[in-house]
Amino acid sequence: MAENVFIALQNNPDARPIIEAIVDDNPAAVVNDSPGMVKIDCPKRLVIRRRTVEEKIGGEFNLQDIHLTLISLAGNIEEDDDEFVLHWNI
């Protein structure tokens, strides 16, 4: 079985650039649409890069702003100013 990590975000305009950045930076990511919610699964490791999100929105982005649209997640978290990583140590 694929050992997926996942992140779920609200389906709204604030989350859309984050979702696009995740898709760009994680080729194995699978996006599942559900009413009001987008859940993104990815085998073992998923990264959100600040720079990619900034390219999408054409301005500055603070990674901690994902708290405003975050619904849920699964995986160990590593976060610094540039990257937010979810991973399983398997």
Binding site: M1, N4, V5, S34, P35, H67, I77, I90
Partner: protein
């Protein structure tokens, strides 16, 4: 020109704002100041190894929470101003919201109290800060949910006198006893029970498929507070995972204690979530996914990935998780069948699903549904048609641990009722499953004192020894109980829909 002052990075900021805030006490011993964080046997060598992976600090916390609240209340206000209660899929749906308010919202308040206790109880400052955030979060969830429900209270039954119902309703001892069990344990067990077993492993099942279902059923108010709460939950879940790793990294003696807590609280949480599964399967007229499918995604996939990750510490998946997986085909049907027979003694309505819904169940649950549950529903529907809506005349026997009526069946035989008995100090205690019996047998002195509502009621301690006297004591009115079709909610809903249709014709 002077250099712009360099901003602290996230890690530096976190270190500065969560460390060195406390001190080693000298007038009193640390053990006297923090008297509860050792007796459970959990050994901590270095509290500074505690890390919050989100590196959330107080300033950022207030900023994000304020922003979330602004958005939430703007939506709730707009929902109320626009009479959006008329846009839900069907008034049957409101019963899921009633269960939420009667059963889940008081848990938020209980969690607020529990985490306030933990925010004082641990001697590590990082842990205390995280628990204080969570305590404030839980109070926020309680308040936002009450605010959202206050609007529904104007239009539907079942929302009034929630605090009396919380204290007195027999069926609400299911969620209530769950939390009371947790907060009467020690601090490490409490945080393992709630932050890890409940929030990490299980609440996704409530806040993701169910809340997405609320969105699909047009309930913008519940969707909004649900997702807003869950964004806090993702922080709590992360705390829960860190707690487990922290305890296991600190000392090898902690492993068997933590494993036993995981076994216990997985099972207690799973039993409680049977109610959520029932809300999803039966109370969402428009379906997003079935309980079976949600269990496969959130437990069999995500839960197992989590326990594979944790196996490096020597942890194994919780005991009886295979039983829970076997029960995925039946637990919501057994639960609904039970609520259906007892809803005259609750502030809820129940009904037999429509034919289209029964077909959906057949597709989702297969042969077992068609051979066991569907015929039962068809039989009850026939009785109802003949004016003999079926209700039980007496309250059920409930499990001494999870307090759910003993309706569950044997793991390998969905036609055989499961009731296990432990005799302790001359009294027989009934349990619904081996999972609950193990919990009782490990701490019989705790659970033999459990307040079991049906027993108290029939001893005459709740207004009188009959169901009628009890209902009076509960202040439940006939019109807010029992069968949905023909109920006050149903009649009002039909009138509102007819009005809306009439207006549309007139303006055409």
């Amino acid at each position: 020109m002077a250099d712009k002052p360099r901003r602290l990075n996230l890690n530096q900021k976190y270190q500065l704002m969560t460390r060195g805030l406390d001190w080693e006490t000298t007038y009193q011993s640390m053990d006297d100041v923090f008297p509860y964080d050792k007796y459970e046997g959990i050994k901590i060598k270095d509290w500074d190894k505690w890390q919050d992976p989100f590196r959330l600090t107080m300033d950022a916390y207030w900023k994000y929470q304020a922003e979330k609240e602004r958005k939430l209340y703007a939506i709730l206000d707009s929902f109320a101003q626009n009479n959006s209660q008329l846009n839900i899929s069907d008034a049957r749906y409101m019963n899921a919201v009633k269960i939420w308010m009667q059963g889940v919202t008081p848990l938020e308040y209980a969690a607020f109290r529990g985490y306030a206790m933990l925010g004082r109880g641990f001697r590590g400052a990082g842990a205390r800060v995280a628990c204080q955030f969570q305590s404030i979060d839980e109070m926020r969830h309680y308040q936002t949910q009450m605010h959202a429900f206050s609007h529904y209270n104007k239009f539907f039954n079942g929302f009034r006198q929630y605090s009396r119902i919380r204290d007195r309703a027999w069926y609400l001892s299911i969620p209530k006893s769950y939390f009371e069990d947790a907060v009467t344990a020690g601090p490490f067990e409490l945080i393992t029970a709630i932050s890890f077993s409940f929030e990490y492993v299980l609440t996704n099942l409530l806040f993701m498929p169910f809340v997405s279902g609320a969105a699909y059923n047009g309930d913008m108010a519940t969707t909004t507070f649900g997702f807003s709460a869950q964004s806090d939950e993702s922080r709590h879940m992360t705390l829960g995972l860190e707690v487990i790793k922290f305890m296991l990294e600190q000392h090898e003696d902690n492993l068997p204690i933590v494993q036993r807590w995981l076994d216990k609280w997985f099972w207690r949480g799973y039993r409680l979530l049977g109610l959520v599964g029932t809300m999803m399967d039966y109370m969402l007229p428009k379906k997003v996914m079935s309980w079976r499918q949600a269990w496969e995604i959130y437990w069999e996939e995500s839960g197992m990935a989590l326990f594979n990750d944790l196996s490096r510490y020597g942890l194994r998946p919780p005991k009886y998780h295979e039983v829970a997986t076997k029960e995925k085909y039946r637990i919501t049907h057994e639960f609904w069948s039970t609520i259906y027979q007892f809803s005259h003694a609750t502030a809820l309505y129940t009904w037999i699903p429509t034919n289209e819904e029964l077909d959906w169940f057949s597709a989702e649950y297969g042969e077992l549904f068609d051979t066991v549950y569907r015929p039962r529903y068809e039989y009850w529907a026939e009785l109802h048609k003949n004016g003999e809506r079926f209700f039980q005349k007496r309250l059920p026997v409930v499990c001494n641990v999870c307090q759910i009526p003993i309706f569950h069946t044997m793991p390998d035989d969905p036609l055989m009722n499961c009731c296990l008995v432990t005799e302790y100090k001359g009294t027989k205690h009934q349990m619904c499953s081996q999972g609950c019996k193990d919990i009782f047998d490990h701490e019989p002195e705790k659970y033999c004192q459990a307040y079991i509502p049906p027993q108290q009621i029939y001893q005459g301690n709740c207004g009188g020894a009959t169901l009628e006297a009890y209902k009076e004591w509960l202040h439940i009115k006939e019109e807010e109980t029992g069968e949905y079709y023909g109920s006050e909610d149903h009649r009002m809903w039909e009138e509102w829909k007819a009005q809306a249709a009439g207006t549309a014709v007139a303006s055409a």
